[in-house]
Subunit: 206 residues, 4 copies
């Protein structure tokens, strides 16, 4: 709005990034998908984007921040907060999204990159923020569940999310096992037993 108030040709790029920012971001993601985070090189990004290497270094100090910017500008990390009317449905939808993120042809490499660089590298910030943002976006979902009486008011959403997301990432990326049918449901049900219906298998005293 205010940006275009004075003149249609007002500066768009200043402070924002290089003129070829979009091509650079695209090239970055393409190469991430093709080669993985470790083999992603600034040099290759520059070449594919048809841009000089120095242009990239002028705007991003290294591979990590570059990828971070590319991911933020893209929508691959966006999530879609479900609202199915009940907690179980919402969580299953969420878990399904995660499984798809982690498995997807285009998104899987991104998830892997978060593992690769996320624990110590320059990507650590991205990873932390990604999960933190997700959690913030998911809070209303849990608030609705509390309002519906499906969840105690003192339940910690972070814990539930960590359990579900952790299981999905663990299974698919670290264990490298396929997520069979019913996996996400099983995960959700494990942390969220149907109200009033004890797990059929949990008969004995625990």
């Amino acid at each position: 709005m205010g940006e275009s108030s004075t003149s249609s040709s007002r500066r768009r790029t200043t402070g924002t990034g290089p003129r070829a920012a979009e091509r650079i971001h695209e090239a970055t993601l393409e190469l991430l998908i093709e080669r993985g985070y470790q083999k992603l090189t600034v040099e290759a990004v520059a070449e594919r984007a048809g841009v000089n290497k120095t242009t990239i270094y002028r705007w991003w100090p290294s591979k990590g921040p570059l990828l971070r910017a590319a991911l933020l500008r893209s929508r691959v990390l966006d999530i879609d907060i479900p609202d199915t009317g009940n907690l179980r449905g919402d969580l299953i939808a969420l878990a399904g999204q995660m499984a798809r993120l982690v498995n997807g042809e285009r998104t899987g490499p991104v998830a892997r990159a978060m593992l690769s660089g996320g624990a110590q590298d320059e990507l650590a910030l991205l990873t932390r923020d990604f999960f933190a943002d997700r959690l913030e976006q998911e809070r209303p979902l849990f608030a609705r569940a509390v309002a519906r009486g499906e969840l105690g008011a003192d339940t910690d959403p972070a814990l539930l999310v960590d359990l579900i997301a952790g299981a999905v990432w663990m299974r698919i990326l670290l264990r490298q096992l396929p997520a069979e049918d019913g996996f996400v449901e099983a995960v959700v049900d494990a942390v969220l037993p149907p109200v009033g219906v004890p797990l059929a298998s949990v008969e004995g005293p625990r």
Copy 2:
């Protein structure tokens, strides 16, 4: 066994690895701890081990397998299967071990390395096998719980383990949050709700 059938000192090294294997493994782990997986270089390992670079390449094709060998020879990835007499205690002990593995000064870098290289790199095998081995070792624990009646016979131990381990790794390594007191208990209790008490009514401190 068969190897030493003829003589106690007979060909310890042939086909097994370089003479300086031990120094190489030590150097590898030291450098992993100091620099992290990405900045771990074969060249530095060779130098610190006082060995020629070619010697390392003669025995391991690259960084991943080298680190794999070093980790397998070390005991840092070993787990200690608890037997506290009840499932909850066992799982809390297990989760505590995981948290320590992931947080420890010497073991944290190893865990991070598994994330770094584990999802696609040459370390993927190590990661997969590590978690698979763990699960195998943990099976008796679950068998005891089933025998005690704490768990249904059809419960999938893998799911429980993925939930617990996933939450721990997610929280500490990806979210990069500290594991506060009570975290592991909360994780275990979340997947293992008090008997006969529907989740929705569990308002008490978890």
Copy 3:
């Protein structure tokens, strides 16, 4: 003159140089002295002069002409034609000036720059003109000597100057030897033996 005929403030700068010409010249000479010709960069000059690089490139095509302009505006290359009353005294004074030019803290780098760029670079013009100008200024000195009968009318001043200057530059800049006491006198006397007074050391038939 003609420039200010209409108005005192009329286009002082047009065609003359950038507004910050003085700062740029100063910065150029400072950096030449600090770093030498080869490491003198337009970029550094711009930064030190507090001016954008393009401003410099608008006015001078490259490093050489820039330095040339800076030197011409400064007085470091000026010479002072001596008039001691006799040729030997004049030449010794001249040679002394050269030695000081070549050795001086502020002027030495300039002399070195003329060597560095003078033989082929963009500074070649400067170098050629510098020595040509010098020679023109020195001609009266030789004319006086001829008038005094100290020199044959057909003596080539250029040759004498080349011999003297060449020896000084050679000794100090190329051989990189100090100019000891008596050096300039020896140089002058070698090309100009005192009339009728054989060099004390030149006894034998030459």
Copy 4:
């Protein structure tokens, strides 16, 4: 001798330089001649020599030492000490060699390079040593002249050489004037006046 005493295939290269030293030296000189010292790049040398850039950097720290090595291995800087039977003839021959060195199609760029880098750069050592070596080689020439009685025993050969060489370099490289016929003779005669004839009366063609 001792090197080949044991076996014909004994190591030839150790400590001497890269295997492709000769090709590298050739490429260096070629490029020096084609482009001049300033535009001589290690990268281009590597490419022309069919060698990787790192190979060059493994052996020489930078352009200067590389060129120095190339020049020393080549014979372009060699001089040929004349022995014509009299001092004047010897000096004229020497001065002629200098003029040819400085003017030659292949040697001129080398001389220019000595000016370019010789006064302060990494080539300074080369320049200094080149002229020092020359002088040492020329000493016998002057000794012969002294023995012949053409020169006083206390004459400083360095001074004569500086005068002659200085004049040649000055005239051709700095003044950028051609060396007309008779130039070297004039130079020599200027520092070596005809016996018994005071300078002022030397009217003849010089």
